[in-house]
Amino acid sequence: MSAGRRRAWGGGIPFLIVVGLYFAVPLIATGLFSLWEGGSRYGPAAYIAVVQQAPLWASLFLSFRLALETILVGLVILVPAVFWMHLRTPRLKPVFDFISVLPFVVPPVVLVAGMTALYTGPDWLVSTPNYLVIPYVILALPYTYRALDVGLRALDVRTLTEAAQNLGAGWGMLVFRVVIPNLTTALIGAALLTIAIVMGEFTFANILLFNTFAVYINYIGGTAATQAAALTLLSFVITWLAMTGVLLTGRGQVQIGGAR
């Protein structure tokens, strides 16, 4: 290691320690609190109580199902749109970029108010948690769009499309045999980010009165504090697993079908 790099590391270590403490202390405190059984007793009682609650599993499965539906709907809309943008209308990229960041500037409360005023539809959509998929697709849009954009930018979409067409392939063959297999890393990244967002989303579900995982954590927090702490750690683990997946696929440590 060169002297310069040593110096850089020397300056970085205290900073890393401070940031590490900033993240670790609340988590350790939450962990300790989740193990508190009253007085000076510590044990897994809160965890045992949590896993024995049927409504918890129902809310967890609901959130997970909504995450999968969000991934599916989001990708079905965005893969063709972003692919087409790269292939035929690259000049519209600034417009796409702008639209993709709109969810950051419109507060969820405004979004949900607008949504309930605007969207009507069949009962299976508006009267069930499926309704949440609509705002969730919007919430996940910046991440899904960016992941796909980066993935497609790494490919020479136009040349690959022309090569496939020149060899006789139609659009179906092109999309399913060439484009999607080369976007696996981007698609996995988009999917894992969506899972992380949906599993932790509270505002929409709470306002629209659906009992998702985040809403359930909030409810438990009002009734059994140590169990809420245990659930919080559990949701952290889910998010972290998703993020680790994103990092691993993004760095190319997981090699998919030979495509980097």
């Binding site: 490919l155 020479d156 040349t159 690959l160 022309e162 090569a163 496939a164 067409q165 020149n166 060899l167 006789g168 392939a169 139609g170 063959m173 045999r177 060439v178 297999p181 080369n182 696996t184 998919i256 079908g257 030979g258 495509a259 980097r260």
Partner: protein, 370 residues
């Protein structure tokens, strides 16, 4: 027999005409190069043949069948692109098999033909490798195998060598020619590199500003340029303004001196001409040994191996380049007074005013000789 006929094809982009009324005919098995500077329309013409662009006017006939409106995938043409175009998620073998899978050939036949093609391009040992495991040259070979595997009616090569380094480029260029001759596939090769075009083609089409500047076999393109653009674009030449002194005897005034030029014969007296000398047809002798030609002074001497390149100043702003055997050049150091001369038929003489020879070529159909 004509295999592909391009008839009066024209193309505009946003009001700018990139192809003006192009007509060409390719016999079966021909290797034709489209040569020209950037923006001359050569790639647009190739993309129209491939079906990626539609012409605004004109039509394309393949074996006398009109294919102008056919989608690229219906044209049965194999194309190798300038950019690396292998599918990154597939091995070399699967890339070559792709077009055969689209055609739903029997899997055993797909496998056999793909292997045969990879052997043909010398990559039989790399079938299982992914594109990122192959060098640029190897990737373009796989792309060539992939284009040939579908047994194309036409092989289209869009500057396939331009991303490769010089040594690989020459190697692959020669290999493309060998494979083309082995398979007999009619080929259109787009390049801006004159050496590439001249060394592999049966015929070369020089293009300029969306028009055909000249069509001919490589030696004719080099030795008999029909207009000043081709003369300047292909090879090196010293160029002078001149005036025909005697059309019957072939005498032209250059740098204020009468010089002999067989190719000036038949031109009207007093006509302004471009007078061109290729470096290899110029002889340089110490002053006094040879009184013909033009007097000058050696300005620079560059050793290039077997030959030495001499820059001879024959006027304040006029330089003649000469390639002379290295041994002779030893006697001609910079500063030496010399005479440059040439064989009477070696100098090219082209009329300066258009209309004297070979005018309006761009609208004529250029038929192959065979």
């Amino acid at each position: 027999m004509t295999h592909l006929r391009i008839e009066h094809v024209a193309k505009q982009y946003g009001g700018r005409t990139v192809l003006h009324d192009i007509s060409l005919a390719l016999p079966r098995g021909e290797f034709l190069s489209l040569l020209g500077p950037s923006g001359c329309g050569k790639t647009t013409l190739l993309r129209i043949v491939a079906g990626f662009e539609l012409p605004d006017a004109g039509r394309l006939l393949l074996e006398e069948r009109d294919i102008t409106a056919l989608a690229p995938r219906q044209r049965q043409m194999g194309m190798v692109f300038q950019a690396y175009s292998l599918f990154p998620n597939m091995t070399a073998l699967d890339n070559v098999r792709f077009g055969l899978r689209v055609r739903q050939l029997d899997p055993a036949e797909q496998q056999r033909r793909a292997r045969e093609m990879l052997d043909l391009v010398g990559l039989g040992d790399h079938m299982g490798k992914f594109p990122h495991q192959l060098s640029g040259g190897q990737q373009q070979r796989v792309a060539l195998a992939r284009a040939l595997a579908i047994r194309p009616a036409l092989l289209l090569l869009d500057e396939p060598l331009s991303a490769l380094d010089a040594k690989v480029r020459v190697q692959l260029r020669d290999e493309i020619r060998r494979i083309q001759q082995d398979t007999g596939v009619t080929t259109i090769f787009v390049t801006h590199d004159q050496e590439e075009a001249l060394s592999v083609s049966d015929r070369v089409v020089v293009m300029n500003q969306g028009r055909l500047a000249q069509v001919g076999d490589p030696s004719a393109i080099y030795a008999e340029p029909e207009n000043i653009f081709v003369a300047r674009f292909v090879g090196q030449a010293a160029e002078f303004s001149g005036r025909v002194l005697d059309g019957a005897a072939g005498i032209v005034e250059v740098m204020g001196r009468p010089v002999r030029a067989a190719r000036a014969r038949g031109l009207p007296e007093g006509a302004s001409v471009h007078f061109l000398l290729r470096p290899e047809s110029v002889r340089v002798a110490a002053a006094g040994e040879d009184a013909s030609g033009l007097p000058g002074t050696v300005r620079a001497r560059t050793f290039t191996g077997a030959h030495t390149r001499l820059e001879v100043g024959v006027g304040p702003d006029a330089v003649v380049l000469a390639l002379v055997p290295a041994v002779e050049a030893e006697e001609l150091p910079p500063g030496a007074a010399v005479h440059v001369s040439w064989a009477e038929d070696a100098a090219r003489v082209l009329p300066a005013e258009p209309g004297l020879i070979g005018a309006a070529r761009e609208t004529q159909t250029v038929e192959p000789v065979a």
